[in-house]
Structures are given as C-alpha cells and as structure tokens.
C-alpha cells in the first residue's frame, strides 16, 4: 500500500486544519477532533507494524515523488526496522498526551490542539524522511510547535526555557545544514549525480579524512544537542521543568529520540570511518552523561527536574549502545529508545497528575501517599521499576542488551555505565520513598483523589507495553534485527573500502 506513510504523517495536519475552522467557543468539539485525529493516526500506523516484513532490511512502504528535480530533492518516505518503532511510539503517545492535557491545559485549547498536531506531523516526518532536504525541513519545522508549547503553556520561567531550547537546537542543526550541503556537492562532483536522496548518498563511499570528520562532527553536534549528550544538555532541565506535562512527555518520549535516531540513520552509514574513529569519544561522553545525569538527579528537589536529569543518564545508555556497532548493542539502543519513551513519558505523566492535585512538584511537599492514593502509588511503582531496569519490565531488556554489546567493545565504558543502573535505583527509589512511603506529613495530602477513569485510560496502555517488552521483547526486537544487521554490514564494508592503504 503506497501512500500509507504520507497518510500517517499528514493526518495530524488535516486535523489541525479542521480545528482551525472550528469556533473557539466549541471547545468540546476542538478536543474531540484533536483526540480523534491522533487516534485515527495511530490506527492508520498500526498496519505499518503488522505488515512490516521483518525479514527485509530495505525501506518499506516507500514513496518517492519528484519535488525539486533540478536540485535532486525528492519527496521520499520509507520506514525500516530502525524507524518503525519510533513512528509507532509517536502515534501511540500522542492520544495519551492529549488526554493528559484535558485539565492541565487551561487556556487556548484550540491553539494548543493545533500546535500539538503540527508537532506530531513534524516528528513523524523526521522519522520517515529518506531525503536529507525533506528530513531537514521536518527537523527544523518541528522546533516551532515545541517552542510555542513551552513558551505559551509552560511554567513561570517558560519564555527563557523556550528561547534557550530553540537557540541551542538551531545552532546545532544549522551547522548540520552546511554539512548536508557539503556532502551533497562532494557526492555530486564525485559521481555526477546531485541528489539529497539518503539511500543513494549512503551507497557513496566518502574518502576518509578531514572532510568526513568535519561533516561527522557537524551532524553529531546537531544530534548530540538533541539527545542531549553531556555537555550539551543544559537546555533540557530548563525545558522539561517549564514545559507543561504534555510538552514534557513529548519532549522525553519522542523529541530526544530524534537525536539518537539521527546518529543511527545518518552518522553511521554516511560517515563510517569517522564513526569508528570517534566512537571512543562518544563512549566517553555517553558514560559521563550516564553517571553525571544520575548523580545530579539524586540531589534534585523537584520531581520533574529529577526525571529530566534521569533522561540525560538513560540516553547515555542509548548512545553507548548505538556506537558499539554490534547487533546486541544497537538493537538494545533501539529498544531502549522505545523504553525510555514509555517509562520516562509515564513518569512525567504521573508527576503531572500529582501536580494537578497539589500544584507542586517538590518532593518535600509529598509523603505518605500510599495510604491516600493506593492505585496511583502502585502504577507509579511499576513505572519507577521499569525506569530503573528491573528484570521482567522493559528497561531491563534494553540496558542489558546495551551492556552486553558494550562489554564486547569497550570494557571500561561498560563497567562504568553499569554503575549508572545502580545510581538509577538510588535516585528513583529514594524519590519514590520520600513521595509515597512514610506518614502523611502535609495535611493537604490527605484529601487528594486517586486515579480518575481518564487517568487509568492514559496509564494502562503504557503499562501494557512496559510489561510486554519486558516479558517478550522479541515482538519488537524481531522487527529491527534485519535492518540493524544490514546497517552494521554497510558501515563495515564502507569503512573497509575507504580504509587508508
């Protein structure tokens, strides 16, 4: 079925257009339209998973149409085992996120719904684009909705956080634009075919050396800022803390994955030698990020900031995994991207639910919630365990695979990274203990209500997948294996072909 990827990508825009036509007063209709659109998008994206042929490493459901033929820009979409899960993660999280905004977004729902839907199209476009120009268009265009979500619906310091987010990301990605152009012209002069088409460019064997290294660094900077890797992470705690709950969930759940996805999709196949040359450095930054993120998380007083720094730590694992360049590490990294989207997304959702009840995110303002809101506490516990990486839940699968992969390549890095899991247990369980266990220390906390039906509907689907991936990850890893093996082969053959003689 061709056209299914276009449908998935642009359905949210259609929904946004419909909402634009609705009057502001008809807020019920606005909400219903937004939710229906995201559910429909998810429904249309499920067949992608069902019909995806896991035995093939090639791009599937591909579409290609001429866009700017004289420049070699085409509208080229496709998914493989690497992007498939991220597309589904996006379409899966969106309806839940909208449901979570039901009460937490109090003003300008119409604008909010339009912005969220445009954001969804931007994110999906990043994952399905197979043309560097098209990819860059989505990559940049997606900044603006996120900027507005933080800046309009965020907390007290929202403007600062929003501008910082945009400027950081823009600086990195504009350098990537120069590298894209350089690659385009290098490939064009070398082969005579000027194109931005990723599969074509990925076949081109770039000579090893300074040019390749610089281009790798330009791409890597853009992605490292997005991930964010230490030391480019400072925008993240601000953005997360100030963003409204739906913004945080999408930021953690999907946006950060664009960075790691970018490494996999672009840096590895396009610049194989530079990838190998810089892998030790990436390991170093990843390990620093894992440990630093964990340590800083431990001392946070604000739950949202704590979860934000934990993202720095968790995504360090992902980067570690994908630069191992072996199947275990890379499959682990891909599944860990999904895991982090689910677990951290759920953590932000729960923190948001607590915030809606008490209008504070400070750990010290809670305590003894187990007796007051048992259902919420249980779900919170499961999500916490999943984030720590308890066996039987999703986090374990990803981290275990990554560490197995890392041990084969770089033992010191793997050993140091393993401590990150221990620290994760420390900061998450300590937070959980202070918030949930003990006596009720604040009178206001005695009266807070337990989960509403809407909140059950938000959390249960996430928990289903947290358990599913933990118990039977093969459903998902199976889809990625062929693509990962093909990518590794591609990197190795290209690196061998360009090896200096």
């Amino acid at each position: 079925v061709t056209g299914i990827l276009s449908a998935v990508t642009f359905l949210p825009v259609v929904g946004a257009g419909l909402i634009l036509l609705l009057p502001r007063r008809a807020e019920g209709f606005v909400r219903a339209t937004a939710l229906t659109t995201t559910l429909l998008t998810f429904a249309v994206s499920v067949p992608l998973f069902m019909r995806f042929d896991a035995s093939l490493s090639a791009y599937q459901f591909a579409e290609q149409r001429a866009w700017m033929p004289t420049l070699g820009v085409s509208y080229h979409l496709g998914v493989d085992g690497i992007s498939l899960l991220l597309v589904l993660l996006t379409t899966f999280l969106m309806p839940l996120v909208l449901l979570s905004s039901w009460h937490s977004i109090e003003r300008r729902w119409k604008e909010f719904a339009i912005t969220m839907l445009l954001l969804e199209t931007g994110m999906l476009g990043v994952f399905v684009s197979l043309d560097l120009f098209l990819f860059y268009v989505f990559w940049e265009a997606m900044l603006i909705p996120m900027y507005l979500i933080i800046g309009i619906w965020g907390g007290p310091d929202r403007v600062f956080a929003a501008v910082k987010f945009v400027l950081y990301t823009l600086a990195g990605s504009l350098l990537m634009l120069v590298a894209i152009l350089a690659l385009y012209f290098l490939h064009g002069t070398a082969t005579g075919g000027y194109t931005f088409d990723l599969p074509v460019l990925a076949r081109y064997v770039l000579p090893a050396g300074r040019a390749q290294n610089l281009m790798f660094l330009a791409f890597a900077l853009a992605f490292a800022i997005k991930v964010p890797m230490w030391p480019f992470h400072t925008w993240l705690p601000d953005a997360h803390t100030e963003a409204p709950t739906p913004g945080s969930v999408i930021l953690a759940g999907v946006l950060l994955k664009m960075g790691t996805y970018g490494f996999l999709r672009f840096c590895l196949p396009l610049f194989p030698q530079a990838t190998m040359a810089f892998a030790p450095w990436m390991f170093a930054l990843a390990v620093i990020g894992i440990i630093y993120g964990a340590w800083v998380s431990t001392v946070q007083a604000d739950m949202k900031r704590l979860v934000a720094y934990s993202s720095v730590s968790h995504l360090g694992f992902v980067v570690l995994g994908l630069f191992t360049l072996n199947p275990q590490g890379m499959i682990g990294a891909i599944i860990q991207m999904v895991n982090h989207g689910l677990s951290t997304g759920a953590l932000f959702l729960i923190v948001g639910m607590l915030y809606e009840r008490r209008h504070t995110r400070l750990i010290a303002d809670y305590g003894g919630l187990w007796k007051v809101v048992p259902a919420l506490s249980v779900l919170f516990l499961i999500v916490t365990f999943s984030s720590i990486g308890l066996p039987g839940l999703n986090g374990f699968v990803g981290e275990f695979l990554i560490l197995v992969g890392a041990f084969q390549v770089n033992r010191p890095a793997a050993v140091l990274a393993t401590t990150g899991i221990i620290f994760a247990a420390v900061y998450l369980l300590w937070m959980y203990q202070r918030v949930i266990f003990g006596d009720v220390t604040h009178e206001e906390n005695r009266r807070i209500p337990d989960l509403s039906p809407r909140e059950w509907v938000i959390l249960v689907p996430v928990l289903v997948f947290i358990v599913w991936i933990g118990v039977y990850p093969a459903t998902f890893t199976g889809k990625t294996e062929a693509s990962v093996h093909a990518l590794i082969t591609q990197v190795q053959t290209k690196a061998a072909a360009t090896a200096p003689r």
């Binding site: 800046g151 309009i152 400027l167 823009l170 350098l175 634009l177 120069v178």
Partner: protein, 486 residues
C-alpha cells in the same frame, strides 16, 4: 574617434514595463487635479492597475530578450525577474498604504505618484546595460524615495529620515558618478558590455579602472545598505512612513542588486578572483553587524532595518559564490525577501495606539490574543526571516549557503548559518511578545482594511508558495542569470 550622432531607435518593447509605470504616474498626476472626494482610493487603484499591467507585460515579454537604445537598455530575463519582484513590492505597498495614509491623516495624492515614479526608476535600473542608465534609474528612484521618506511632514523623525537619506544619498551618488567617469576614462565607454570587453583586453590592471570600480561599489553599497555604508538605514527605516520603509527595504534593494549583478558579471567578471574577497568581507561584516545590533533594538522598525542589513549580507554570500547557482540564489532571495519584508512591515503599520504609531516591541504584547490572524501572519513572516521551513526564507538561505558551499566558501556558509542562529533570538522575541506576554496598558489596535488584508494574504501566499514549491521559480532565476555568464 569621430562618430556621427545618430538618433537612437526608440524601442518601446525594451522599456515596456518602465513605460507603463511612468505613464501610470503621469495619469495619476492628472487625476490628482480632479476634485471629487475619495480620490485617494481611486488613485491607489489606478496605480495598482498600472502595476498589474506592468506585471502582465513582464510575463508576456519573458524570454523575448528585447534590447533597445543602442544596447543601453536590455530587457533580458534578469531584468524581467527583478521587475517581477519590484512589481510585487510596489503592488503590496500601494495596497498597504490606502488606509494607512487615511489613518495617519496624510491625504496627499503625491504619495501614489511618487511610489510609481520610484518603481519606474527601479525597473529602469533592473534593465540598464549602461552605467549612465543605471544612474538615471537610481536617481529617479532615489529622488522619489527621498520625498516619500519625509512625507509625514509633521513628524520630527520624518524630517530627519528624509534629510539623512537625501544627504547621504546625494553623497553616494557623487561617488557613483565619479566612479562612472573614471571607468569611462579607463575603458572609453559606459556600456557594460564594452567595459567588459576592455577589461578582458587588458584594462583590468589600470588603476583608474580599479578606483572607478571601487567608487561604484560605494554607491551600490549605500543603496543596498551593506556595512560599512549602512549608517542611514535605521534612522530612515524608523522615520519614514512604514509602507515607504517597505518599499525602500524591498524594491530599491532588488533594483540595486540587479544592477550590481549585471555590473559584476558583464563588466568586471575577469576580476572575479579579486572582488569575490571584497564581497566576502562585506558579507561577513553586514551579516554580523546587522544581527548583533538588531539584538539591541526595541523599536521593531529599527530592528527590521538592522535585520535587512544582515539579509543583504546573506545575499552578498550568493554574490561571492557566483555562477548560476549563486546569482540565481540572490535573485530568488530578493523575491523571497520582498514578500517577507513587505508582509512584516505590512503588519507593523497596522499597530497603533491612540492614533500614534506603535512599533515598540512592547506594543506587540498580547497581540495573539486580540488579533490572532494578524499575529499568525507576523509570526510567519518572522519565521521566514529566521529561515525556518517550510517558509520561503529557509529555501532562500538554503540556496544561498548551498551556492557558497558549492563554490568552496565553506567558512562563509558557516558564518552565515551561525548568524542565522543568532538572528533567531531577536525575531523570536517578537513572537514571544505576541504569544507569551500580556499587554500592559492600553492595547494596540490592529485591524486591517480589505486592501491591507489582501496585501498580507498575497505576501503570505508568496512566503508559503516559495517555501513549499520553490523549484519552478528558482529554475527561472537561474536561467535568468545564465546568459550573463557566457
């Protein structure tokens, strides 16, 4: 050297768009004398009809390559492409001015006449193949703009703007003329193709030619407001009526760039290796200074003035890169910049508070809540100035920096993109103000009339259309400069 003076063959085809605009201007002068009320609208609509006719003529003449007056005027595709940009700019300015002038209480018919004469001068510059004709167009345009800049007689800033623009403009015209004289002395001609032939034949090392060329560049640098010839820009942009500012920012720059491209490609292309570095410096200085100073501005018209200096820097990147790609990118960017900037000023001129112009950053606070559509329009224009896809500004910069990378000026492209990132800060600040802050005190009013709304819709259409489907227009731009590169 004795030539008999032959009367030039008058070739109306070669000057058709300019002639249509000039004739419309004369018709308006007559109409201005007729008494009935509401003549302002009537004059604006006649002017618009003239602009539309000029645009139609431009499209019909595409590819015809007419030339006339012994080769002093050419109507090649470069001239026609720029004429399109000038036509759009003039049309938008006329639409925007109708109720702007009424609200400001400036009921002068001369306004529309002068706008059309300015446009005539611009179009003449775009098609000038002779330095004297360039100067003719330049002065026709400039004199009209000097008056327009000061047409709000009662505002002190208007007097300052007009005076400053006139004095510095006259000064730069002097440089320009002196340059022409020296070049004539070195090569024996003012016709660009003959200068080119002389340069190729060995006049390139003549100091007279180099000095003359340098002086010419000062004149051009002034008109396009490149650093270090930008001193007038902020004051004039701020003091002039906002719709006139839009015309100065778009049309006059397009015309000057057209003449500059033609001079560089036809007359002194053998020296490209040398002047490319000169423009490299001008580009870096303009981008950097424009963006850095724009950050400090609180008045939006001044901010856009410095931003326009930065954008000239981006366009000079295309000039440095050269070739069909670089120069085509410059033409494309001029069109993009016309829609974007005319649109942005078109929104700014709506803002007023208590009958006074309200162009401070704080005046936009909370605009999104009160006038959502106006705010969206301004946001789109600003995002296009930042260069965020899918707006035209992104594609324009993509072509410019692409050309620079292609030509091997990687560092110039890097400086350019870093500048774009820094520039995002001050453009986004306006969006922050509109969307994320509440208005303090009396809110500003911003209700466009039908004509004003039409202008904004046309500009929005241009920004989105060129952002999503740039290929056909960019191919036209490239094909327009190709003949000059042979």
């Amino acid at each position: 050297m004795s030539e008999t003076i032959t009367l030039p063959v008058v070739s109306l085809r070669a000057i058709a768009p300019a002639a249509i605009l000039a004739t419309t201007g004369f018709v308006l002068m007559l109409l201005d004398l007729l008494p009935p009320r509401h003549r302002r609208e009537r004059m604006a609509f006649v002017g618009l009809a003239g602009v539309a006719a000029a645009l139609v003529a431009t499209v019909l003449l595409w590819g015809s390559g007419a030339s006339g007056f012994q080769g002093m005027v050419v109507l090649d595709n470069l001239a026609l492409f720029i004429t399109l940009a000038i036509g759009y700019a003039t049309g938008l300015v006329l639409l925007l001015s109708i109720d702007y002038l009424q609200r400001r209480g400036i009921e002068s018919g001369e306004f529309y006449i002068l706008v059309l004469f300015a446009a005539t001068g611009m179009v003449i510059m775009a098609g000038a193949n002779d330095l004297i004709v360039v100067f003719l167009g330049l002065e026709t345009m400039s004199l009209a703009l000097y008056v327009l800049a000061g047409i709000f007689r009662t505002r002190i800033e208007a007097g300052e703007a007009s005076m400053k623009y006139f004095l510095l403009g006259a000064f730069s015209s002097g440089f320009f003329l002196y340059g022409i004289a020296l070049i004539y002395g070195a090569t024996g001609s003012t016709r660009l193709d003959r200068i080119g032939a002389a340069v190729a034949a060995g006049a390139a090392r003549d100091p007279l030619l180099l000095i003359g060329f340098g002086l010419l560049l000062v004149g051009f640098g002034f008109k396009i407001s490149a650093v270090p010839f930008h001193m007038w820009t902020a004051d004039v942009y701020e003091g002039a009526p906002t719709s006139v500012t839009a015309l100065i920012a778009t049309g006059s720059k397009a015309a000057a760039f057209a003449a500059l491209v033609r001079v560089l490609l036809e007359a002194v292309r053998p020296l490209q290796g040398e002047w490319a570095w000169l423009f490299w410096g001008l580009a870096v200085a303009s981008m950097t200074l424009g963006n850095v100073v724009a950050i400090a501005q609180q008045n939006l018209k001044r901010m856009l003035a410095y931003s326009s200096i930065a954008h000239v820097g981006y366009m000079l990147v295309g000039i440095v890169a050269g070739g069909a790609l670089g120069n085509g990118a410059v033409l494309f960017y001029l069109l993009v910049y016309t829609f974007t900037t005319a649109g942005a000023f078109g929104v700014l001129l709506l803002l007023e508070r208590g009958g006074e112009e309200a162009a401070q950053l704080g005046d936009t606070a909370g605009l999104a809540a009160r006038h959502p559509l106006v705010a969206v329009a301004l946001a789109v224009f600003l995002l296009s100035l930042v260069g965020i896809p899918p707006t035209a500004g992104f594609v324009g910069k993509f072509y410019l920096f692409g050309a620079a990378v292609r030509a091997g000026y990687i560092w110039l492209a890097v400086i350019g993109v870093l500048n774009s990132a820094a520039a995002a800060y001050y453009y986004l600040r306006v969006i922050v103000s509109m969307y994320m802050r509440e208005s303090d005190g009396t809110p500003t009013v911003a209700a466009p009339s039908f004509a004003g709304a039409l202008a904004l819709i046309v500009a929005l259409w241009g920004v989105i259309q060129l952002g999503i489907m740039p290929a056909p227009v960019f191919d036209l731009a490239q094909s327009a400069v190709l003949p000059l590169l042979r």
